[in-house]
Amino acid sequence: MIRLIDVHKSFGNQEVLKGINLHVKEGEKLVIIGPSGSGKSTLIRLMNYLEEPTSGQVYVHTHLMSHNRRAFINKIHSAMVFQQFNLYPHLTVMDNLTLGPRKLKKVPKREAEEIAMHYLKRVKLEHKANVYPTTLSGGQQQRIAIARALTMQNRVLLFDEPTSALDPEMVQEVLDVMIGLSKEKNFTMVVVTHEMGFAREVADRVIFLDGGVILEEGTPEHFFKNPQNERCKAFLGKIIR
């Protein structure tokens, strides 16, 4: 579904990704872990071209990504959930959810609102349809952001540390929604997270990124039972209490 071929990415003269080859299969649930600054965000953001590679190719489905094709490809293939939610503050929750479908997919208003309502129920926030996002708690905002991603009805869902900006008591409500989504075979999910419990429960595959390369990859069992790479071991030792 997503294929990165020898992707390099530099910011100025700092090379953040140093040749990544990665194939995310259709329906796969991939978790990306790694220390701060290791390039996790950069990697996931390459998948919808929020970052453009310095060299190498990104394929989504059968399309080769490019600056000019980004809008078209994202519109029909992927959606992203951000650490900082990034809801549209000038729009009500309902309008946040219907803007994309209405403007990009030309879904009639009525129908778009029905779809939106369906996903709002799914994240258990149907009673918040007409409020503005800023009136909601972080956990609620993130669930709305997930619902917004879902209303695009695309197969690929990208999550960049969706629970890192949340107060601890709100983390679980968001993870629960994501766990629910992971049960659906249709969705290809790529998740950057430090939530190891989530990774263990949901991931088909985990990759450990450090220094701009994938140092270790495998099933969650492999990771948590006998990781090979020393840095990976050290990292896991630090975050699994």
Binding site: Q84, Y88, T92, G100, V131, M152
Partner: protein, 257 residues
């Protein structure tokens, strides 16, 4: 008859008052056109300065930067002088001018005044708009791109609506400033109403029957000018404030649901 009474007599002079109120109309017309064009042009400048940052488009950016910085950092009075004295205006057929009940000189003066004000106002508005654009979190662009919006769509549906909300108060004071700025034209020409007030003060003895100009002439005519500026500008503030309040109550009503 006291001096004050003599001065007040001018206010009941029909010809004089129609000369004055025509000036008020000119002020309003100059201000409205300058504000509208200044806003549109300023928006273009702001967008170019902010977003034409890569490749050959950068030339446009530098042009916008140069324009904004030149006009923002030089006095409006200078540009009004230059434009009114020497801005080339195509000669206007008398018939056209008559069609809007003006003389060709008036039309030319209007045109030059508007040009001068637009030069300056657009540069100031560009910076206000740019401030608004920059106040929008860059996560908003990313959210839009991740949904599949193009750059222009993100601006249109997501960033500009937030920008406009953010700049309303500053824009309002700039609009009021621009209305007051029309008065600089009074130094060069008698077209807008403050210029006409100065003219009336000069010629006051003709209308008051007094041997000389009196302080009361200044007091009465400038008082009138004051009242007019105040009425126009205060009305605008009230209008914008009530619009803002209405928008807020709508939001609060929603939030309470």
């Amino acid at each position: 008859m006291t001096e004050l009474q003599a001065s007040l007599l001018m206010l009941s002079n029909g010809g004089l008052m129609s000369y004055f109120f025509k000036g008020v109309a000119f002020t309003i017309i100059i201000a409205i056109i300058a504000i509208v064009i200044g806003f549109v042009f300023g928006s273009v400048l702001a967008l170019v300065r902010n977003y034409c940052v890569s490749g050959p488009q950068r030339i446009l950016k530098w042009l916008a930067v140069a324009y904004i910085e030149v006009f923002r950092n030089t006095p409006l009075m200078l540009w009004i002088f230059i434009c009114l004295v020497s801005f080339p205006v195509p000669s206007i057929p008398v018939a056209w001018a008559e069609a809007i009940a003006l003389s060709t000189t008036e039309v030319q003066l209007l045109f030059k005044s508007i040009v001068a004000l637009v030069l300056f106002t657009s540069s100031v508005m560009a910076e206000i708009i740019r401030g608004g654009l920059n106040s929008v979190d860059k996560g908003q662009f990313e959210a839009g791109y991740s949904q599949g919006f193009t750059f222009v769509q993100v601006l249109l549906y997501i960033v500009l609506p937030q920008t406009i909300r953010a700049i309303v108060p500053t824009m309002l004071s700039q609009i009021i400033t621009t209305i007051k700025d029309t008065s600089y034209i009074a130094n060069i020409a008698y077209i807008e109403f403050l210029g006409r007030v100065f003219r009336m003060i000069q010629l006051a003895p003709m209308y008051t029957g007094q041997p000389t100009q009196n302080v009361s002439d200044v007091f009465v005519l400038c008082g009138l000018a004051c009242a007019i500026y105040f009425t126009i500008n205060f009305a605008i503030s009230l209008l914008v404030r009530s619009l803002q309040k209405r928008q807020k109550t709508v939001r609060v009503a929603y939030a309470a649901e």
